[in-house]
Structure formats: C-alpha cells, structure tokens
Amino acid sequence: MKCGTIKFKKQPKIIGAYSIVGPKEGQGNFKDYFDYIMKNDLFGEKTYEKAERKMIENAITGAIQKAKLSIKDINVLVAGDLLNQIISSSYAARAFNFPYLGVYGACSTIAESIAVASILVDGGYFENVVCCTGSHFSTAERQYRFPLELGNQRPPVSQWTVTGAGSCVLSLNGKGPRVTMATFGKVIDWGVVDVNNMGAAMAPAAMDTLLSHFKNSKTTPDDYDLIVTGDLGKLGSEMLIDLMEDKGVKLGVNYGDCGQMYYRRDQQTLCGGSGCGCSATVLNSYIMRKLQDGQYKRVLFMPTGALLSTTATQQGESIPGVCHAIVIEGDEG
C-alpha cells in the first residue's frame, strides 16, 4: 500500500462533541456555539496549569455525556496539549480509568488525535475512543513568551493563544458526522525564525498537506463546503492562499481559518487566535453543529502546528511546521 491519504472503510462517527472556553473566547465570534464558557481564567483552581487540566477533564466528561455514554464505555483516550511533556492531558487522564495515548502536534493536535482515534476505531480494535486537546493563554504565554504582567508590546504579527478545550467521542455505533479521510502531514521548514510569526512558519506545511491531500484523494477545493485551517491567523492564511495559487490551486470563499475568525476585531488579538484550543473548540462547537444541521456536507479540517520549543529557537533553529488533515462528512440522508 502506498503512503498517502487514508480512506476509512467503516467511517467512524463523531457521536459526541464538547467545547469549553475562557471568558475572552466567550465574547468572540463563536460565542453562541460553545457548550460552556468559564467565568474566569483560573476556573476555581490555584494555578493556570491546574485550570487547563480541569478544562480538559471537563471537556472529556462533557463529550462522553453528550455521546450518551458513561465513563466505563470508553476504551481509550487520545489527547495532547502545548505544555512541556503534555502534562495537562496526562494529568487529566489520571482522573479517568481508561488507557491513554498522548500525542503532540502543537496546534494541530486535535486533527492528529482524531485521525489516530479513527484508525483505532476503523480497525476494529477499540469501540469508543475519546479525543481531547486544550490550551490556556496564561500557561502558553509563560512557557513560550513573557510573564503576563510585563509591560511589553505585542508585535503586529503575533497571535493570541486560545483558552479552551475541545473533546469528541468516536465510535462506529450511534449517529453523527463521519470521519471519512485522513492525511498525515510531513514536517516542513522553510527557514522562518521569527517566533512571533507562526503563521508564516506553518503556511508551507499547510500547503504541502493540502496538495498531497487533493492529489491522493482526487478531490478539488470545490468538493468541500468548508476548508478550514487551525491557527494560521490573518497573515498566515493569506500566505497559504498565495502559496496555493503559485501551485495552481485556487482557494475560494469556502476557505477559512479558525484563528482568524475566532475573535472580534476590537478584542485586540492582532493576527487572531492560536493554540491547541483554537481549532479544537471551533471544530467541536461551530463546525460540528453545522455538520449536524446539514449546512455543511463535507468539511476538510486541517489545523497546523509549529513544532518549536524555546530551547530550539534560542539556539538559532528555524521553526518547523506540520499539518494534518481530516475530512468530516455530515450524516447520511
């Protein structure tokens, strides 16, 4: 078998989806679609790391409940986040009594985990699999950038890490949108060194995955109601459109970027949202709702991730990007 796009034979269904976001996100453009909006960033915990973990725990429980299952019906959890050693997911998994697979694809983690979970379910090895990813503005800032209270200015290309977690349950039984295809991406590095300009670092990866997806699946942009990237942001998504045009593929009005759409203009997030939570919460709220309503029939969901660490960038390394794509189709009939 040639390496490329996976076409799922049994097409696992997303039978439950849940999203939880912070207060700033709760005032953004998708505010009517989220399941739960936190009243403050700490979520009743002592530290932001604990708050992020609690968000992930709650998202997992919420998704299981919405799938009308109970904790003991779940066979495995596939989860990841942005913090070092993916502690938020791993510590959240401690609270549950099922096996756990930690995955990391930076901000593309949700697509990676859904693709892996779909393979597990489609292969018949597991019955019900939960996927979850999340991120928190305050934990990401302090890991990658500066203390919150430091009086510095953000460069115009910077993005705002979304506080939020999204989770979904995949299964062959039940009703819901189906995961029909998955394309894993290569790690692409075109030499961008500016850590604030993640969109530019990830756009080539998105282009690469998108081109190979179209080629392998023999589809064109017109075959999808929505092609959506994760957190390229305002600048990065424009770059992707330019890059694709150079390759002879035109992305039209059915293309969008979660990060770019996430916040309102007056929320001062500059180039838009980013982080694991960005694409995960949009997918598990807005996009799922539209798929269930039948407004979207076929969505190509392809979040990108910047695989950097502060150590690597301080040593002068450029930023590699990765992009995983999954195709979700609405309920039959």
Binding site: P147, E149, L150, G151, N152, G191, N197, P204
Partner: protein, 152 residues
C-alpha cells in the same frame, strides 16, 4: 529552485508581507508617557527637597528612585502596569519603572513554583541581562577612568 533559494525567496516574501508597526503613534505615545514618568520623578524629587530642607540632593535622588520603583511594582501587582506598557511601549520600559516591572512580573508569575525555585530563580529572567551589562560596562568605564587618571 534549490532548497536554499526557496528558503531565501520565501523569507523575502514573508518580510514584505508582515504589517509594519506605525512609527508615529507608537513613538508619540512612548514619548509622552515616558516624559510624564520622568516629570513625576522630578516632582517627587523637588517635593522631597522642599519638605525636608536639610536632605542632601544625593539622598533625595535615592528616595525618589525608591518611590518610583515602589509605584511601578504596586501597579504591576494590581495588573495595571502591563496595560500602560502595551500602550506606551518603550516609554514605560526605559525609565526605572520598567526595570521594576521586569523584576516584579516574573516574581508574581512564578510564585506557585515556590520561593526558591519560583520567585528567587525566575525574578531575574528579564532583568538579569540588564544587570549583567550594567555591572560589566560600569567596571569597564571605571577601568578607563583609572587609566586616564594615571596620565593626568
């Protein structure tokens, strides 16, 4: 196109594409806020000299700095200084208040990692280089001063 050329071409494209910071409003805001901080400092200094007549000028300077540092640390603690900083940029970083903010903000941020490994270790993550350069360059200048003194 070779790999190297492509990277070069892409980075050139990215550089042309990124929005530039608008110089006039940015510089103007940093100018007047920075100036205002200096004005407040001078005001405190003059007030001290006026209230305590037999205070030496040297001592008044020290008290002024301590008061400014305290005000900035306090504003950082209640979460105001970062908002002023976002507006004024360099205007709030260059005066001593910015230095105070750069020490206080990581101390607040890392207090959950404990007093030793959190506050004490992380306190100088931003101000550390400033202190090192300050000490090294003043030692260097002192050396030059000493050598010149030998020939005078």
């Amino acid at each position: 196109m070779s790999e190297e050329e492509r990277i070069k071409a892409y980075n050139k494209y990215v550089k042309a594409k990124i929005p530039k910071t608008r110089p006039f409003p940015t510089l103007f805001n940093s100018f007047w806020v920075g100036g205002l901080i200096c004005l407040i400092g001078q005001g405190i200094n003059d007030l001290l000299l006026y209230l305590v007549p037999n205070l030496s000028e040297q001592a008044a300077w020290s008290y002024t700095l301590i008061i400014l540092i305290f005000i900035a640390a306090f504003l950082t603690g209640i979460g105001v200084y970062d908002k002023i900083g976002r507006f004024a940029g360099g205007g709030t970083i260059v005066p001593i208040t910015g230095f105070s903010n750069s020490i206080t903000s990581p101390s607040i941020e890392f207090k959950h990692e404990g007093i030793i490994y959190g506050i004490c270790v992380k306190m100088f993550t931003i101000a550390g280089p400033i202190i090192v350069f300050g000490v090294v360059s003043s030692a260097f200048v002192g050396l030059i001063y000493y050598i010149i003194g030998l020939f005078m």
